[in-house]
């Protein structure tokens, strides 16, 4: 979503194409998309945790 940090630290560049893509979806599709993102992030976090655990053991 945030593409680049601009010169002013309080300003960010907003990915307008991504917003347009999301606006074309229905509210229900957006909710399902959010759920899928959460699942993916949790799976990645779990994989990272397991990897660290295997390195420690």
């Amino acid at each position: 979503m945030v593409t680049n940090q601009a010169n002013n630290s309080t300003q960010i560049e907003v990915d307008i194409a991504l917003i347009r893509l999301f606006l074309r979806m229905t509210p229900e599709e957006r909710l399902l998309s959010n759920d899928k993102h959460i699942q993916t992030l949790l799976e990645l976090q779990n994989a990272y945790t397991e990897k660290n655990a295997s390195i420690r053991s």
């Binding site: 979503m1 945030v2 309080t10 300003q11 960010i12 907003v14 990915d15 307008i16 991504l18 917003i19 347009r20 893509l21 999301f22 606006l23 979806m25 509210p27 229900e28 957006r30 909710l31 399902l32 998309s33 959010n34 759920d35 993102h37 959460i38 699942q39 992030l41 949790l42 779990n46």
Partner: protein
């Protein structure tokens, strides 16, 4: 006292549908309200402002028991929410078997369900009317917020609102 062991599941769509099916009166606020209206961010919890009537609190308690709601606490002690927790204007942060649920009696400027309802939009979600705080109001709340993360996200919210209005004008 028992403590939480497992990583909680997260299915916010199912959590929302469950609240609707239970007949709970509420308004979706926070990050998921923004997602519903097209803001491309990911949020991990469902924030709602519930109607603090006796009848609604009874329905909410029944639903919370069904989804095994417990307080979300740093020490992970298992404490179940009580009816009295839902009667005030405070925020009750819960973990459920469908994901994190924040039940808010009121938000900024003491605004509860009755005050926010005129600023909510109604969407049809899986066959039920669901009230969602409008993106315009979400932007205004973010503008007033002192939380750095809110300021960071504000520009994404504002740009989405601008594009959504532009799109509505051209339709």
């Amino acid at each position: 006292m028992p403590t939480l062991k497992k990583t909680p599941a997260s299915d916010l769509s199912a959590l929302l549908k469950g609240l609707n099916d239970a007949g709970v009166e509420f308004i979706v606020v926070g990050g998921l309200a923004a997602v519903i209206q097209g803001v491309p961010v990911t949020t991990f919890d469902l924030d709602i402002v519930h109607h603090r009537t006796d009848k609604n609190i009874t329905k909410m308690m029944k639903f919370l028991r069904a989804v095994e709601a417990i307080q979300r606490r740093p020490d992970e002690k298992i404490i179940h929410p009580k009816e009295t927790d839902l009667r005030g204007k405070g925020h009750v942060l819960l973990t459920t078997n469908l994901g994190p649920l924040d039940v808010l009696g009121a938000i900024e400027n003491d605004q509860g369900f009755d005050e926010l309802l005129p600023s909510a939009i109604a969407i049809d979600f899986k066959g039920s009317t669901t009230y969602v705080l409008s993106l315009q109001i979400l932007v205004e709340l973010k503008r007033e917020s002192k939380i750095p993360e809110d300021q960071y996200r504000l520009q994404i919210y504002e740009e989405t609102l601008r594009l959504a209005k532009k799109s509505a004008d051209t339709d």
